[in-house]
């Protein structure tokens, strides 16, 4: 479903990704972990077609990732910028107008689940509720690939919990693949199928999480500690 073939990405002088090979298949929730600046966001942007590889190829469902890939990829950026004069309902309407696969009914289900008021103005939402709204907008699309860049970052435990529950409830694992970058490993370790560790633009490990526990008796955090040392 997603294929990286010898992908290198250089921003000016800096090597963000260094000959990355990767294969991800549908029906899974995959965690991408690594320090700040390790290349996580770059990988997401390449899949979303928002950046292009310097060398190598990124294939999404068999074709090269470019701007048009946006129709099959729901990308949640780590930025927290919205049209502040909109209210929640208008924001949802705007998204529905931009993406043909946006499912209004599902959006309102997730909205209710997240206990968000459709009439609230975006500029008046708390940071936690903005985090929740981003989840609504990204999960309401029936896109085969969902990318989430740091969806839990900077949010309080209650909000993080509701986002994790939202993921469990609304992802269709028969059809979708979710790739999520995070530092909050404890929060997501029970919902990940696979984990990928990235360091200085290189993938230093990629595992099925249950297999890691079964064969090596390691949790994700233990495993990261062993490979980072």
């Amino acid at each position: 479903m997603i294929l990286f073939q010898q992908v290198t990405k250089i921003y000016r002088q800096k090597v963000a990704l260094d000959e990355v090979n990767l294969k991800l298949s549908r029906g899974k929730i995959i965690g991408l972990v690594g320090e700040n600046g390790s290349g996580k966001s770059t990988m997401l942007k390449l899949i979303a077609g928002l950046a292009y590889p310097t060398r190598g190829e990124v294939l999404v469902n068999g074709s090269k990732a470019n701007r048009r890939v946006a129709s099959t990829v729901s990308y949640l950026s780590e930025l927290d910028e919205y049209y502040r004069f909109y209210n929640v309902k208008q924001m949802i309407k705007f998204y529905a107008s931009q993406f043909p696969d946006f499912d209004l009914k599902k959006a309102y289900e997730i909205l209710t689940f997240m206990k968000l008021d459709p009439e609230s103005k975006l500029k008046e939402l708390s940071k936690g509720n903005r985090g929740r709204l981003k989840i609504v907008l990204s999960l309401a699309r029936n896109a085969p690939i969902i990318l989430m860049d740091e969806p839990l970052s900077g949010l309080d435990p209650m909000v993080r919990q509701s986002i994790v529950k939202g993921l469990i409830s609304f992802i269709d694992l028969e059809k979708q693949l979710v790739l999520i970058t995070t530092h909050e490993i404890r929060e997501v370790e029970n919902i990940l199928d696979e984990v990928i560790a990235i360091k200085d633009g290189t993938i230093i490990g990629h595992h099925n999480v249950e297999q890691l526990r079964e064969e090596q008796k390691l949790g994700i955090v233990d495993w990261l500690t062993t490979i980072y040392e």
């Binding site: 899974k28 994790v164 529950k165 469990i168 694992l173 370790e189 029970n190 249950e210 079964e214 955090v221």
Partner: protein, 126 residues
């Protein structure tokens, strides 16, 4: 259902163990329908794929059966329940005995201690 799992053990097995305990305790009755995969995932805070695997594992052990289009049900077979009870008893006792032996208690001390606990204290705790 508390959603605390050991991070270094497969979650699908921990969840299977939890369900077996619920059956032994009678919290889940023979023939009772288990929550849907999604509901169980939400309740336990785990990946739906993991729940699916747990149900498959339990199905392989004949503890549950899935009925097409209806869901997954606890078996109605009493013998299976008896087998789980025995198995759990074995597990708990062997862990207890191991801990006691590691601390240097002899088997006679363990037996005597257990006996007197059950007659004196255990009875009032029931």
């Amino acid at each position: 259902m508390a959603d605390i799992f050991h991070s270094a053990e497969p979650i699908y097995l921990q969840l299977a163990e939890r369900i077996k305990r619920q059956i032994v305790r009678g919290e889940l009755q023979l023939g009772e329908k288990l929550p849907s995969v999604r509901d169980m995932a939400l309740k336990a805070n785990v990946n739906p794929n993991t729940v699916q695997r747990t149900y498959r594992e339990l199905e392989g052990l004949k503890i549950v059966e899935s009925k097409r289009g209806q869901g997954t049900f606890v078996t109605v077979d009493e013998r299976v329940l008896q087998a789980i009870r025995e198995e759990m008893k074995e597990t708990e006792i062997s862990q207890f005995v191991q801990v006691m032996r590691e601390m240097g208690y002899s088997d006679d001390e363990i037996k005597a201690g257990l006996d007197s606990y059950l007659t004196e204290k255990g009875a009032s705790e029931q």
